[in-house]
Each structure stands twice: as C-alpha cells, then as structure tokens.
C-alpha cells in the first residue's frame, strides 16, 4: 500500500468518524418524539429476535427459580444454604406482586422488565407487554413497593416506560392523609450523588416531618390516588416565605425490578391499601 493510498484511507477514516459523531449529535439534539419514534422502529424491526430471546431468558429465570426450589428441597443442606437466600428473595418478590394484584381494585397487566446495559437503563424500561396486551401510552407502571413510572411508547409486543428516575418525570403527590400537596421529580442527594426524589412546590406554611409517606394524589388523571411514591427524608431547600422542597427516598427502585404491573385505564379508583405497609427499601 503506497503513501498516497494510506493518506486517502486515513481521510476516509476521519470522514467516517466525523460523520458518525455528527449523526449522533444530531440525534441527541433532535426532538424527543423523533428519537422515540426511531427507537420504536428499531425495536420493532431489527431487535425483534433479540428482544424475543431476552424475554425467553427472563421467563427461564423465573422457571429456573422454581426448578432450583425443587432441587434444593432434595439436595444437601449445604447446597440449600448456598442458594436459598436468593431464591427466597425472588419468591417473595413474586408473591408480593401476586398479593398486590389480588388487592388492586383497578385492572392491570403483569409484565417483565428487559434490563439493558447502558447506565441510563432505569430511566426508561423496556417491558414485555405491548398494544396486543392492551397497554396504552400514559398507563402507570407499579411494583409491589410503589410507583415506578408511566408508559411512554407502545409497540405491538413491547412498551417503554419512563420511570421516576427520568429527569422529565413528574407526578402529582401528597403526604399520606392528603394534607400537603406537591409535585415529585428526580434529583440527587447533594453529598453522595444518590438518586432520590424531590417533593416540590410545598407551601412554606406546611412542614412535613421526616418519615412521612408520600403517595400519588390522582390529580391529572394519569396515576390513581394512593400509589406509594416514597418517604420524606429531609428538606432539600426552601425559599423563605414562599415554598419548601423536600427530599423523598423512593419506594421502588426501577434498576432492580424484574416484574411489574401496568395499570389499565381508567385510573380513577384509589389503590390505597394495596401496597406493602412499609414500602420503603
């Protein structure tokens, strides 16, 4: 390969690199709806076999838990001691979900979470239920512990939920008992950078003690009233004479949930009492 050829290859490399960077930046700065449409198209075409494979893996994981349970009953005590804690946790989680389903007064759909490898997984979740199952945009997504998010895009077999960890997520909430109202959104703890929620827009005259549970208020019509959002852990900031913002430890963790429930419309009935009593983990 000659010198000139090397140089033209190098130019081609740089050109391709700049093109890819340009396209990426273009995608980043494009309207959100456009990005979601492209993502949905890729999910419903190229990725169909891979997501199908991942769904089978999630199913196998649940089946495997049952098989392991049966094996551990037969196997030695040492073997059981090694695997039982994880198995118990998984079983308990499924039982809680089942219990939640029996207690809910609104109709719902179960779905599995197909977790991905990017660090932003947890802000959006791919769920194994779509329009064929009756999922619609703006359907609330919950776990046995509380609020996870809301359906953002729906494909025939799968849907994407925006969780409370997404910077654009907002929900109307009040303290248990309905005395203090506010809007919840994601934030991070100033000292540790840990992801938390904020209860914003609380009137300055209203003070909320630490440990108070915050639940959805039902205002806006997207979330039914009574879904646990989290527990107040302190004041984030206050504007003297005007309003306070409280830090809230979230009830449910989107990054670790594997099975969720999607509430179906209408979302008007209260779900208070359906969730685990102390839902803060």
């Amino acid at each position: 390969m000659g010198f000139g050829s090397d140089r033209s290859l190098s130019r081609r490399d740089t050109g391709l690199f700049l093109l890819c960077v340009g396209l990426s930046i273009g995608a980043l700065s494009a309207p959100r709806a456009w990005g979601e449409a492209v993502a949905a198209t890729i999910q419903q075409t190229v990725l169909v076999p891979f997501l199908w494979l991942q769904e089978r893996a999630e199913e196998a994981k649940t089946s495997r838990a049952t098989v392991i349970k049966l094996s551990t009953e037969r196997d030695s005590a040492a073997y059981a001691a090694q695997f039982l804690p994880a198995l118990r946790a998984e079983n308990q989680r499924l039982r809680q979900l089942l219990g939640l389903g029996q207690r809910l007064t609104v109709s719902f759909l179960p779905a599995e979470v197909l977790h991905q490898s990017l660090p932003t997984d947890g802000q959006t979740l791919v769920l194994s239920a779509g329009s064929k199952n009756g999922v619609q945009v703006f359907d609330p997504v919950i776990s046995p512990y509380g609020l996870l998010g809301v359906i953002r895009t729906v494909g025939p077999d799968r849907s994407v939920a925006m969780t409370w960890a997404h910077p654009e997520f907002r929900a109307s909430a009040f303290t248990e008992g309905g005395t203090v109202y506010g809007i919840v959104g994601a934030t991070s703890e100033p000292s540790t950078g840990k992801l938390l929620l904020e209860l914003r827009g609380v009137a300055y005259r209203d003070s909320i003690p630490e440990g108070t549970r915050v639940v959805t208020s039902g205002l806006g019509g997207v979330f039914p009233p009574g879904i646990p959002v989290g527990t107040v852990v302190g004041v984030a900031r206050e504007e003297a004479g005007w309003e306070r913002t409280y830090l809230v430890r979230p009830a449910a963790n989107p990054a670790s949930e594997e099975h969720v429930l999607i509430l179906k419309a209408p979302h008007t009935g209260s779900v208070t009492g359906a969730f685990i009593e102390d839902s803060t983990r």
């Binding site: 290859l9 490399d13 740089t14 391709l16 690199f17 890819c20 960077v21 990426s24 930046i25 995608a27 980043l28 700065s29 494009a30 959100r32 456009w34 990005g35 979601e36 492209v38 993502a39 949905a40 890729i42 999910q43 190229v46 990725l47 891979f50 494979l53 991942q54 089978r56 893996a57 999630e58 196998a60 994981k61 495997r64 197909l114 977790h115 991905q116 490898s117 990017l118 660090p119 932003t120 997984d121 947890g122 802000q123 959006t124 791919v126 895009t153 994407v160 925006m162 960890a165 997404h166 910077p167 994601a186 934030t187 991070s188 540790t192 950078g193 840990k194 992801l195 990054a255 670790s256």
Partner: protein
Amino acid sequence: MIGTRAERNRMLVVLLILLALQFYVRPLLGYPRIAPDFLLIGLLIYCIRSRPGDAALAGFAVGLVSDALTPSSFGAGALANTLVAYLAAWGRAVFFADNLLVNAGFFAIGLWLRDLVVLLASSTAGHGAAADLLLWSTLKALTTAVAGVMVLVIFRRWLSIRLAE
C-alpha cells in the same frame, strides 16, 4: 486487520455468539447493573482488527441499538460507542498486546469510558450520575473485563490471538 474470508466468517460467528450472550445469558447473570456487557466486548474485539473508520461505523451501529433499548436520551449511546470504537481502533498498536491483563484493562477502560460519555451526553448529569459511574460502571467494567478475557481465551485460535499470562 480482518483479512481472509475464513477470518471474517470466524469473527462473524464470535460476534453472533456474543449477541446471543448479551440477550440470553446476560439477564440470567444476576443484578443487571453489574452484568458484563457482551455487546461492547464484541465491538472492541471487532475494533482492534479494523480500520478506525470502520470501527466508528460499527460503534455508531451498536450505539443506535443501545439507544433504541434505552431511549432516555437518544443519540448518547451512539456518540459514546462511536468515540470508544474509534479510539480502540487507533489504540490497537498499544492494546493489541498478547498480555491478558492489558486486554482486561482494555475492556474495562472501554466500558467505563463509554458509560462516562453516555452520562455526560445525556441530560442526566447530576441525577445520580456520579454514583452510577463510580460504583455501578466500575463494577460492570470489572465483570466485562473478566468476561472479555474469557472470550479471548476461549476463541484465541479463531481470533488468531497469542496470549501470554
């Protein structure tokens, strides 16, 4: 560089296996935030035997797939994977060593850098990003490094790699 048709076919088989591992085995490996990223391992293995331009294109394609599955800020994954793939292809003179530890570091740094760029490029900086990067990305980088080395050891003949301890 990937030369003969046989080499290309072998590389394709390895990449397909890694794809299957990403979507079928990864969900079974426990906590998803620290499970190895087989897609990135495949990308880096491809990049160290390709020209930087081709590597950038491959990175962009892998990034688009990642963005489609995590559409919280569409384009961040494409940008991050393009950058990492391009740098990996340029850095192959350094990293194309036969040492297992160097290769492990290559996978770990690649993943950590990818996550860093994703978090910076997405609108989530400050929303738990520091904790994500310092804790979860570091742990995921370690598991990815271990998985990457295992892939290299298992497929060393197919990938024509001479590994030294």
